[in-house]
């Protein structure tokens, strides 16, 4: 016969183990039954974001199935980062790049940049930043339409010198009380355009292989 203390220890451990098993089972069942819906919701959210910078009529392929991985210092990448290739009737239409501006006022600003095949910007959105609320956060579309001032711009429009904020004799507005944030965003977009200019042939070549695969 076990002494009193060992018996209560045994009993308590069994109770704990039983509850651990039951709670794990409950979580596992929930996870199983929601898994496909969560993947669907994630994809829908991604498509919504991509659709904001690339008008639906400008491409007809499934962007999320034409993803390539880039690790490009010019775009501020520190690891493999996805880029999306868009085609219209089989022809290259646009590319959506993720770029990081490392020199924001408080940390890195992550951008999604859509560039049409002819080198014009279809749109830019900030996907993540830690800039000061009320000052630097006007790079968000929800706070200010500033980010739309990139629409339709390209490497030659404005020319090299214009790719800066007005304080630096460029073409883009800065915000009252916040110059560093828009300066970082303008520089990052400019670099992305330069990258596209040098590498677009190579990017769209990967498109063909990506398309053949499925």
């Amino acid at each position: 016969m076990l002494p009193e203390i060992s018996r209560s220890m045994l009993k308590n451990s069994l109770v704990l183990a039983l509850f651990a098993a039951v709670t794990v089972a409950v979580v596992a069942i929930t996870q199983q039954s929601t898994e496909s819906r969560i993947i669907e919701a994630e994809r829908a959210a991604q498509i919504r974001t991509l659709g904001e910078i690339l008008p639906a009529y400008s491409y007809d392929n499934a962007l999320l199935d034409n993803v390539i991985a880039l690790n490009e210092p010019l775009l501020g990448h520190r690891a493999e980062t996805p880029a999306y290739l868009a085609t219209l009737a089989g022809q290259p239409a646009a590319v959506i790049l993720q770029a990081s501006a490392p020199d924001g006022y408080s940390g890195t600003i992550s951008l999604l940049i859509g560039i049409m095949a002819d080198g014009t910007l279809s749109g830019v959105r900030v996907i993540h930043h830690k800039e000061t609320p009320g000052l630097g956060d006007r790079i968000e579309l929800a706070k200010s339409p500033w980010i739309k001032s990139f629409d339709g711009k390209s490497l030659s429009n404005p020319a090299q010198r214009g790719w800066a904020v007005k304080k630096d004799q460029g073409d883009f507005d800065q915000f009252a009380g916040a110059t560093i944030t828009p300066r970082a965003v303008v520089a990052a977009v400019h670099k992305a355009l330069q990258y596209f200019d040098q590498h677009h042939a190579e990017l769209f070549a990967q498109l063909n292989t990506a398309q053949v695969k499925p």
């Binding site: 979580v27 929930t30 969560i38 994630e42 609320p133």
Partner: protein, 237 residues
Amino acid sequence: MSTSFREITINGLWKNNPGLVQLLGLCPLLGTSNSTVNALGLGIATALVLICSNAAVSLIRNTVTNAVRLPVFVMIIAALTTCIELLMQAFTYELFQILGIFIPLITTNCIILGRAEAFAAKNSMLSASYDGLMMGIGFGLVLVAIGATRELLGTGMLFTNMHLLFGSIAEHWQIVVFENYKGFLLAILPPGAFLVLGLLIALKNWIDQLYAERIANTVTVSAPVVSRRVRVTGVVE
């Protein structure tokens, strides 16, 4: 030991309100109350976990020994929170992304373990679930009150982005209360949460005080009668 439903209701919504009186779960209360939709989302999630955990804890209250009581409660609460987190991810994905870390943090919300320990472990399943519902609503109401106040003061609008929670029907629920409002940043920033919560607590205490004074007044009116009777009985004795 059982408490009447009326008493549970009054306790959860007013007398023992988790947000205004017990001051439990302040971290999510202050962190997510910068807009009505965030506040409502977290309020509903917390209330759901609270109801389910109270029900579950009450069900097992006689089978679990005292020694392992707390670890078992924590396991139940963590499992329920994870389930709610997965469900929110599946059905309200964008809101889930905004609320972020505050959803898993429901596990550590003191209200939930507090109610499990103080109420659910000693009461029937029905009153425990009802207590969870009332405490949840009490917490949610405070959250939404702070959220709406901060949104209104900060942006001049109400019910922005409600479609994150209610789908496309809520697309146009946004109300612009003040046209051409410049915005009052302090209300949206974390200090605004403390200020609004402080004002709400003050308001509640003020109402309680007014109520107490009114009762005291009615007592004073009848006081002479009472005291005379007391004296009379004294004489008789």
